[in-house]
């Protein structure tokens, strides 16, 4: 059966603010699934809590809106129980890098094949604009009583040292580019992380659409306008690891790149390594038929409803004689 883009949409009323960056991300996800021809019932989208957490309700795939900060373990559990599913996880920067940062780091250790998208706007929007873990030190967005007293997390760098094997960034108003970044993430076999820069038109009055889309003038040639956001691949950056020896160098390069901010903000693929075995492959090395016969697909009872298993050998080990 062929699917239309409309098959990935639901009639649920969308209550995000007008001009919210979330819309771009939602559209990019729907277009990615459509263009990759993933049947809606074979995909499941998990989300955390916050405005971004509502995303699954607008997409016609299985949609699991979980707890604050816990989207990754929910999503990993589903993927490990049934590796045939295409799993996406989405959430805000507070969700994934504040309350959920432990899961972020530890997911990297596993490298389970799923795609995690952070909607990064620097504020806790749904609770009315408190500073999130990605807001820079000293910044005072309009709803903060005082400038931000905490320093910020660098999500790309954190993903690099945690072990994510596809690390990219997109901008929510460049849907075409974002969609390509997401598609690559979905196609990547392993844990993908996509940091999406996204204005919060209501609470973040600093990193606005205008700010992201502004230019600086070339010092030597003022007639050249340099856009703040630029694409890594257009400036000769290549983060793809071709052989294992280059991986640590490429990680260091990616971290270096991720520090660029203010006048020059890179988007695109910072790092990709296809050589790290996925957690599924690691399980497969212990359980030969894991991918063919994963936990969710096992027949646990026979037609009479009796257990489809024999534990006599284990009971023999416990026998007194």
């Amino acid at each position: 059966m062929e699917y239309k883009l409309a098959d990935f949409k639901t009639p649920v009323h969308n209550d995000w603010c007008a001009g919210c960056g979330d819309f771009g991300i939602l559209n990019a996800i729907q277009m990615s699934l459509y263009e990759l021809e993933i049947p809606p019932h074979q995909a499941a989208i998990f989300s955390g809590i916050g405005c971004s957490g509502k995303t699954p309700h607008f997409i016609n795939t299985f949609g699991i809106h979980t707890l604050h900060g816990r989207v990754l373990p929910f999503a990993q559990g589903a993927k490990l129980a049934n590796p045939n599913l295409k799993i996406l996880a989405v959430g805000g920067d507070g969700d994934g890098l504040g309350i959920g940062s432990g899961h972020f780091v530890n997911s990297g250790r596993r490298n389970i094949d799923l795609t995690y998208i952070i909607y990064n706007n620097g504020v806790y929007g749904l609770t009315k604009g408190q500073a999130s873990p990605t807001l820079k030190l000293g910044m005072k967005t309009k709803s903060l009583p005082q400038p931000n007293v905490n320093d910020s997390i660098n999500p790309i760098a954190l993903a690099c040292i945690s072990g994510f094997t596809y690390i990219a960034r997109g901008y929510s108003y460049d849907i075409k580019h974002l969609k390509e970044v997401i598609k690559k993430g979905i196609e990547h076999e392993g844990l993908s992380f996509i940091d999406v820069l996204q204005p919060c038109p209501t609470y973040n009055d600093i990193n606005t659409k205008e700010w992201y889309q502004s230019f600086t003038l070339d010092e030597n040639n003022p007639s050249i306008r340099i856009p703040k956001i630029y694409k890594l691949e257009e400036e000769g950056y290549n983060g793809v690891v071709d052989n294992d020896e280059e991986s640590s160098n490429k990680i260091i390069k990616a971290i270096e790149k991720s520090k660029e901010w203010e006048n020059r903000i890179p988007v695109g693929v910072f790092y990709e390594n296809k050589n790290t075995p996925t957690y599924e492959e690691r399980i497969q090395s212990r359980i030969d038929n894991y991918k063919k016969y994963p936990p969710a697909l096992q027949r646990i009872r026979d037609k009479n409803g009796n257990p489809n298993i024999n534990i006599d050998k284990l009971l023999d080990e416990l026998r007194s004689k």
Binding site: V12, P40, H41, A44, F46, K54, H57, N60, F62, G63, I64, H65, T66, L67, R70, L72, P73, F74, A75, Q76, G77, A78, K79, L80, A81, N82, N84, L85, G102, H103, N106, I283, R286, I287, D288, N289, Y290, Y293, P294, P295, A296, Q298, R299, I300, R301, D302, G305, N306, P307, N308, I309, N310, I311, K313, L314, L315, L318, R319, S320, K321
Partner: protein, 677 residues
């Protein structure tokens, strides 16, 4: 109290890491192979090496289900074990000890706790003995304890010559086996069985096994040569061994629950390391490849997570794919799981939490026994949602219960908390091999298959996971099912699973979920809710009915005690009820059982005077949490609460004494038990 001589109690102790565990395993295995029944219990500190740990074994040709306080044979190789445990040696009991440790000053044993120091000091003072190991030995002599001296260093040197192996550092590690062999020699125990016990314990290490067998035989002969005839009262062991039923298995709680999970079809388990729950997951992972009856090979994925929040949420994510999923934890971990439990509740996800209780609050006594989490398990998580709290009374039950609780989770589509504890987890018992082949696996309204047939009559425009109709339990499909797309959210939801704050829908969904509580009580068979564990025959002389109500692992000590008491007394009628379903609480059923019993007694055989009824609650916590539930849910009024919260399980000795006091009207309302080392 002296428990009758049909059982012998054996204790081995020593610093953690000194081989107490392997010695006790050999002992248990050897004794069980002889056909005797065993009950073993492990006590240890939250420590890797050096603190005192001990293992006590009670064995008999009759059924034994619990420990006693008294010790018949105390096996030691350090000073601390003598100081801690010798006060419990029976007259005529046996102490196996190293004469070289007698020089150690009691005050120099830095790991000794105050309770033990006070106890020994008191005994020595009362018997005018000096405060020293030598004083203890003197006092034991007066109590007619038989002293078996094992000079380990000397013996190891001799042994080293005998086998021509001079690596003494290696040989120093066989002290535990020597002490164990000495105790078997004292019992005149069958040597080939002892050897098999050793080989079984070191099954994967043939060289170590061989060395240990040699050392055991060497010590066995040494004891035989130097310490004459075995005391008459232990001689029954050699007489009856090999006569008893030999079909039994010996199992620990941390094996029976995972075995139950395999049979039940649990194929996904998560955990974060925590005592005493981790052993369950380790057993499951060690045996993760499963023999199926059809031609496929099954398997369990066991995942160690970064914390307990990840453990429960990962298990929930897995459960959404249709697999039977479980997470295993103890109190501190369960505290972290509370929020996610509510998510599973509002989304009607079948999820099992195996909750191995230990003494709290906070880190509490991390390696010790308590039943302090009952009210917490029932109330954990904010807001209201139905959950089943079910508890197992002993190791054997925990196997069968594990299959039941998975069925409950699927049938009622709601989280289930299976209450276990440290005592069940770390105790070992002989029981019948599990009859599992005819057990039923019931999955309720789970659609199995890859797609929903949309052509069927009445199929709605879209699958409605939370359809509002007459049955609060609605069709559930795994993620990945064609035409079965649904949504879940921690927010209140509509029939499709989308967020709603509509007041009418809220009422309907609250009622859909909460009405399951009534269904649970109606559909779970009564005998699975409350087990009538003991009820003696009505005698004409009955004056008093003592109703004992308990939950969980106090069952063994209660049953052991009741069997002894009724030998003595026919004026007292006992009714012992184990509450297994703790939420929703079967209050009406409990009242009915008690009232029917009273009615029966008062109308039978033209009673003139009304029979006195005494309700006694036995549990291991401070508040008497079961009593709180009984008061909330019934009109029954308890007369006695027998409680314990010192971290050590209730012994047969303590419960027997407590019940005797109740029979004789000499019991306080609230009885706090304090025994245990």
């Amino acid at each position: 109290m002296v428990i009758s001589r049909e059982s012998i109690s054996w204790v081995i102790g020593g610093p953690q890491g000194s081989g107490v565990d392997s010695a006790s395993h050999i002992f248990l295995k050897s004794i069980a192979m002889s056909g005797l029944n065993v009950f073993g219990k492990r006590e240890y500190h939250s420590n890797i090496k050096g603190e005192h740990s001990y293992f006590s074994v009670r064995f008999s040709n009759q059924i034994v289900r619990s420990p006693v306080d008294d010790i018949d044979i105390l096996v030691t190789f350090d000073a601390e074990t003598i100081v801690r445990h010798s006060p419990f040696l029976m007259k005529g009991g046996i102490l196996i000890y190293d004469p070289d440790v007698l020089g150690k000053k009691i005050e120099d044993i830095h790991t000794l706790d105050k309770s033990s120091e006070r106890r020994i000091s008191h005994i020595l003072k009362n018997n005018s003995k000096e405060f020293s190991l030598a004083g203890i030995i003197e006092e034991l002599k007066e109590r007619k304890v038989i002293l078996v001296k094992l000079p380990y260093t000397k013996l190891i040197n001799k042994f080293s010559e005998a086998i021509q192996d001079h690596s003494l550092s290696k040989l120093a590690r066989i002290t535990n086996v020597m002490s164990l062999a000495a105790s078997l020699a004292v019992l005149d125990f069958d040597i080939p069985l002892m050897e098999r016990g050793i080989l079984d314990t070191f099954a994967n290490k043939p060289k170590i096994a061989e060395l240990n067998v040699k050392a055991a035989n060497f010590t066995y002969s040494y004891v035989k040569e130097n310490f004459g005839a075995i005391p008459e009262k232990f001689s029954f062991v050699s007489k009856i061994q090999n006569e008893a039923n030999s079909n039994s298995i010996i199992a620990q709680g941390n094996q029976t629950s995972p075995l139950g999970k395999m049979v039940a079809g649990c194929r996904f388990q998560t955990y974060y390391p925590i005592t005493p729950a981790t052993d369950d997951s380790e057993y499951l992972e060690s045996n993760q490849i499963l023999d199926q009856n059809d031609n496929d090979i099954g398997s369990v994925a066991v995942v160690q997570t970064e914390d307990e929040i990840a453990a429960i949420t990962m298990a929930i994510g897995a459960a959404l794919t249709g697999v039977r999923a479980c997470t295993t934890t103890s109190g501190p971990g369960f505290s972290l799981m509370a929020e996610a439990l509510g998510w599973a509740g509002i989304n009607e996800v079948p999820l099992l939490v195996s909750l191995y209780q230990r003494a709290g609050p906070s880190t509490g006594l991390p390696t010790r026994q308590e039943q302090g989490d009952l009210l917490f398990a029932i109330n954990a998580g904010h807001g209201e949602f139905p959950r089943i709290v079910y508890s197992s009374g002993d190791i054997e039950e925990s196997f069968y219960d594990t299959i039941r609780v998975f069925n409950y989770a699927d049938i009622f589509q709601t989280p289930v908390i299976h209450m276990l504890d440290k005592y069940l987890s770390n105790s070992i018992i002989t029981c019948s091999p599990f009859e599992y082949k005819n057990l039923k696996i019931e999955r309720g309204k789970l659609l199995e298959g890859n797609s929903i047939e949309t052509k069927q009559q009445g199929f709605p425009d879209h699958f409605r996971r939370f359809e509002l109709n007459d049955d609060p339990i609605t069709m559930r499909v795994p993620l990945g099912t064609e035409n079965g797309i649904f949504w879940n959210t921690g927010d209140e939801h509509d029939e499709m699973g989308h967020i709603t704050e509509d007041p009418e829908t809220r009422i309907s969904m609250m009622e859909k979920r909460s009405s399951k509580l009534e269904l649970i009580q109606n559909r779970i068979p009564k005998e699975e809710q409350i087990a009538i564990e003991f009820e003696n025959n009505i005698s004409r002389n009955v004056k008093k009915l003592i109703v004992i109500v308990s939950w969980g692992s106090t069952k063994g000590a209660i049953l052991d005690s009741l069997e002894k008491i009724t030998d003595l007394d026919d004026k007292t009628q006992f009714l012992y009820l184990q509450i297994k379903l703790l939420n929703p609480f079967p209050g009406k059923l409990l009242e009915d059982i008690v009232n029917n019993k009273m009615k029966k007694l008062n109308t039978g055989d033209n009673k003139i005077s009304k029979i006195e009824t005494i309700i006694t609650i036995i549990e291991m916590n401070y508040l008497s949490q079961l009593d709180v539930l009984i008061k909330q849910n019934t009109t029954l009024q308890s007369d006695h609460n027998i409680l314990k919260y010192n971290g050590r399980p209730m012994s047969h000795t303590e419960i027997y004494n407590s019940l005797i006091n109740i029979i004789n009207n000499q019991s306080d309302r609230r009885v706090v038990l304090r025994d245990g080392v």
